[in-house]
């Protein structure tokens, strides 16, 4: 197989975007006269608008404070609880920077070889995606520590607020998908409403928001039985949607590899059944 074919075989969306970014920052002579990428360029790929690790770290700390402030506002934390959550959040930041350092070390060994740099881009992309999506999602130490840090009443209050937020995000993503479908084959207002009801019933919120949420939603929608669509759409509309949704079946492995599947709920599963009902 040709080198070019190998390239296309290993193509991934984030890697593709990063490849573009690598091109943008340029493979050039360094100050020491050596040809290759610099540490500064590498940090720009990962931290994007934050530019470097120090700025990104400061921003992540601010972001963590927003999360703890919100929990405090909802649950009225004691000083001890706040300290515990702060430590958990710090742990998330440190965990992220440990990953970053591992990838940076790999980069430093290949920085003078453009082809080898492209080969490690999936790893760079994983760190970049995490940075871009934020560290304090449902799988973070900060969120996981809530169940043991908050008392039952506080925890229930928090879950209610979080659930409301999750629904808001989920509905917005469903509407985004419907509009994208509508843009490809127009729907009547009645059909849009029917699809919205169908998707709300048949899909679950993403595990944690990332830049690939659209694909996760489309993937879930592609698994809805064809008959349900055919009850709503006509033949022409279905033909267009069938092609679009058909592509998504093929993305399952990629979504799994990137930790975007399965779409599960973490925190709420720790609630007792009557508490789950209360949250709903």
């Amino acid at each position: 197989m040709s080198r070019r074919s190998d390239y296309w075989s290993s193509l991934r969306i984030p890697v593709l975007l990063l490849t573009m970014l690598v091109g943008a920052t340029g493979f050039s002579s360094t100050a020491s006269g050596q040809v290759g990428f610099t540490d500064e360029q590498f940090e720009q790929w990962v931290f994007q608008q934050y530019g470097n690790a120090a700025t990104a770290r400061a921003m992540l700390k601010q972001s963590m404070e927003l999360y703890t402030d919100e929990i405090d506002q909802t649950c009225s934390l004691s000083d001890a609880q706040r300290r515990k959550l702060f430590l958990a959040g710090q742990g998330d930041i440190e965990r992220f920077f440990r990953k970053f350092e591992i990838v940076r070390a790999a980069f430093q060994t290949v920085r003078n070889d453009q082809q080898k740099v492209i080969e490690i881009l999936p790893d760079v992309s994983a760190v970049q995606s995490q940075m871009s999506a934020g560290l304090f999602d449902r799988d973070s130490l900060l969120k996981k520590s809530l169940v043991n840090t908050l008392d039952r009443e506080q925890f229930l209050k928090y879950v209610r607020v979080d659930e409301e937020r999750r629904r808001f995000h989920h509905e917005s993503k469903i509407m985004l998908v419907i509009v994208m479908l509508d843009q490809s084959a127009p729907l009547t207002a009645a059909q849009r409403n029917q699809l919205r009801d169908l998707f709300l019933r048949e899909t679950r919120p993403v595990r944690h928001p990332t830049q690939y949420d659209y694909y996760v939603m489309m993937y879930q929608i592609s698994r809805i039985p064809e008959e349900r669509f055919k009850q709503i759409l006509d033949d022409v509309q279905w033909e267009v949607f069938r092609v679009m949704l058909g592509q998504m079946h093929e993305m399952e492995e990629w979504l799994e590899e990137n930790g975007l599947l399965p779409v599960t709920v973490q925190v709420e599963e720790r609630l007792l059944p009557d508490e789950q009902a209360a949250v709903q």
Binding site: L11, Y50, M180, T188, R196, D197, E239
Partner: protein, 387 residues
Amino acid sequence: MLKKCRIPERRDVVIHTVIMALLVMFSAGRTCGAFPVDPERTVSEQRESSHVEDVEFDEASNDRRAIESDETQQRPEKSHVVVEKDAADEDATEEADVDPTEDVKQKFGSVLNALLPKKQAEATLLNRKIDEKKLKQFEVRFGRHFDLILRTELHFMRVVCKPSREQYNVIAADGMLARTKAIKRFALIQEGARQGFTQLPDSNTRKPFADDLLSSAKRHLTADQVAAYERELAARDRDHKQMAVLVTAAKIDHKLVLSAEQRKRVTKMLNEDWDVSWGAAQMLMYEGQYFPDVPDSKLTPLLTSSQEKIWRTVNQQGQEFWGLNVGMNQAIALPEEKWDGESGNDALPASASTERPDAESVDSNGEKSGRDATATEVSDRTGEKAE
């Protein structure tokens, strides 16, 4: 770390296809660097051709690079300057007999465009002359996408207006004129984006088709038929705006961890002050990375000081052009409309009815249910009344 594994060939092509669909949207306004999958070609043919088409893909990459490198700066300045440079480079290699004053004219044009009132700037751009060769190139690359848009919009008009076969045919003929107009319009917009014009018309490719078909319907259909189409087009605009408002509010919420009350107020503000340029689908699709150019004066009064600090670090897109929104379609070829009877609607499912849903039903718990109920919920969120 990501696992590295061998992927089946078909999956390669599918992932490739999805990316290309994205790039069609991303790149259309920048360099036209995309190639939709041709369903008539075999997978292996497509793989082979992808090597050739990499050239186009790389052109798109150049433009993407330009954006990304610009975004590495805190709260980037308007990035059209970089696009302009790329476009100038590309144009220089495209035509040897280029007018030496062209570059000056372009720069003058883009500066003038930035100074004019928005509507006037858009009209000036759309009234410019376009090189026939460039127009042809644009049509070759995007013609099939426009064909699908026209085909599906005509079908939609048929579902909504229930024209006779003769009425449909007359409007379809007008649709071909709409296609010609749309191709010129979007070629001009793309050209304007390349040349650094910052005040560009809406990049939604379907809207001009719908507008032209509506004009045609007004000439050839009854008032009731036209009213039905107008109602649906208004509902489409309203729903698309609602989506864009909610997605933007959700993005801001994800970044700034808003309280429930803040979320409501931000959603209301976005709904009231919405600017169509904030709703590029390509931007909305990317969680967390890109934000519309919502003025700080509107948003920051709704934020805490900690949230405000973080908001000042996000990538706002300024007057960035995201490319043409041709939908996520693959330019598939659809069969001609089937006509089982002169009413023209025999083949359509009952669910495609454009009648307003029945009055809302109330379930045993006294809760609203049914389509009206959900529509009302969404309207409540954006603070907009459903018609």
